[in-house]
């Protein structure tokens, strides 16, 4: 039983590992794009190959074709520090994400 449990745990680990998010670099298709309440920032949840929650800020070095604007758009770039996207302030609702340093996007 212990052997089978170990094998199941190993297989589960193999499937879970790719979910880890790396700060540098990132790239993937946006499934959700939400404007933040603060600083005109834009939150984007990206899918594979290197996805996760990211935030475009007004200071981000932005190449063609501009900031995230819609679901289905592809983004590619570098990201770094934690950013807290305030969606609503009453009630307080934040979406933590990684701030995008430089990026390019599809149309």
């Amino acid at each position: 039983m212990r052997l089978i449990a170990s094998l199941i745990a190993l297989v589960a680990l193999v499937f879970i590992m790719p979910v880890s998010v790396f700060a540098f670099p990132f790239g993937g298709q946006a499934s959700v794009v939400i404007p933040c309440f603060n600083d005109s920032a834009i939150y984007a949840m990206l899918g594979p190959p290197v996805g996760g929650p990211f935030v475009w800020t007004p200071s981000t070095q932005t190449y063609s074709f501009g900031p995230p604007s819609h679901a289905g758009q592809w983004l590619l770039g570098n990201a770094g520090p934690l950013y807290l996207c305030l969606v609503t302030i009453d009630p307080i609702f934040t979406l933590p994400a990684t701030a995008i340093l430089m990026m390019g996007s599809s149309q």
Binding site: P49, G72, L86
Partner: protein, 306 residues
């Protein structure tokens, strides 16, 4: 059962083999890849490192972007809309979401202004790439390059900047590698605002940001052209850390105070991004490039990075 007990290693191997075979059959039955008729090998095209030479998009000029929820990849139904707040808060990818490598290749191809489009990149209207002749076509040609860029002779200043970029890059990479879970740390702290353990984790994140800033500030050999940028970047790390600690301390209190703390923190992150991009610009202005394995690559934006 008796045999399994007598031969634990053999039975473990048999179970592992069964899992591999089952997995292979499952994958094969769920993919539409056409098996190539002959053996082929893939090598990246002659895409040099740091190939992108695009000018930044003027902010606010989005005239060439399509409207909300439309793509130029045909009529495929999108899994989410931008208004789907409930789904976004969970931070998960929906079940019906399909990663399309061909679309990603088309995007990267467009981004690096490659004139030629590979066969897999042009057959994406249905959301699949069944017309591909080889599985190697799924690998975006701009992302992985086996070509070695030619060595150029560097000036003394370029060498100093290269060394400095790698020194700073080590600190940046160390922080990023050690805090890949920074988003989750904040999520946990926000979910249990009165939990002192989770609050401490967020404070530790802030302390590490400050420590990274101190390390960058104490760098010995900083070229004169990058001195002010180095100071600004280290200060940004320290400020961000300080403000993040204030956010952590505001968690158990009133919402208004927390909102104010978050806004202050985000303001410093904006400054951080600005200073980081400015330093990356110094390397670019002096023609300093970093290879994919150089720590200074954190200051480059290349399609080879993924």
């Amino acid at each position: 059962m008796e045999w399994i007990r007598l031969h634990p290693y053999s039975s473990a191997l048999a179970v592992a083999a069964a899992l591999v075979v089952t997995g292979t059959l499952f994958i094969e039955s769920h993919t539409s890849t056409v098996t190539p008729s002959s053996i082929s090998a893939w090598g990246g095209g002659d895409v040099p490192v740091n190939d992108i030479s695009l000018s930044p998009e003027p902010l606010g000029n989005n005239s060439n972007q399509t409207s909300l929820n439309t793509t130029d990849y045909g009529t495929r139904t999108l899994p989410y809309t931008s208004n789907d707040l409930g789904a976004s808060s969970s931070g998960t990818i929906p079940d019906n979401y399909q990663y399309n490598a061909a679309e990603f290749q088309a995007f990267v191809t467009k981004l690096v202004h490659q004139s030629q489009t590979s066969s897999s990149g042009s057959n994406t209207t249905s959301g699949t790439a069944t017309d591909s002749a080889s599985p190697w076509d799924y690998i975006p040609s701009g992302l992985i390059s086996t070509a070695t860029p030619p060595k150029k002779t560097q000036t003394a200043l370029q060498q100093a900047l290269f060394q400095y970029g790698n020194d700073v890059g080590v600190f940046v990479q160390q922080y990023d590698t050690a805090h890949q879970n920074q988003v989750q740390i904040f999520k946990d702290a926000m979910a249990s605002r009165n939990d002192s353990t989770k609050q401490s984790s967020l404070i530790r994140l802030g302390e590490d940001l400050k420590a990274t800033g101190d390390e960058i500030a104490q760098l010995g050999k900083v070229p004169e052209v990058a001195t002010s940028n180095n100071t600004a970047l280290s200060k940004s790390y320290i400020d961000s850390g300080t403000k993040l600690i204030l956010v952590a301390q505001a968690l158990p209190g009133y919402d208004g105070d927390l909102v104010k703390a978050i806004e202050n923190y985000d303001g410093t992150v904006n400054g951080f991004v600005k200073n980081y991009v400015a330093l990356a610009g110094v390397f670019s202005n002096y023609g300093v490039t970093f290879g994919p394995s150089d720590p200074g690559n954190v200051f480059s934006f290349t399609p080879n990075a993924l």
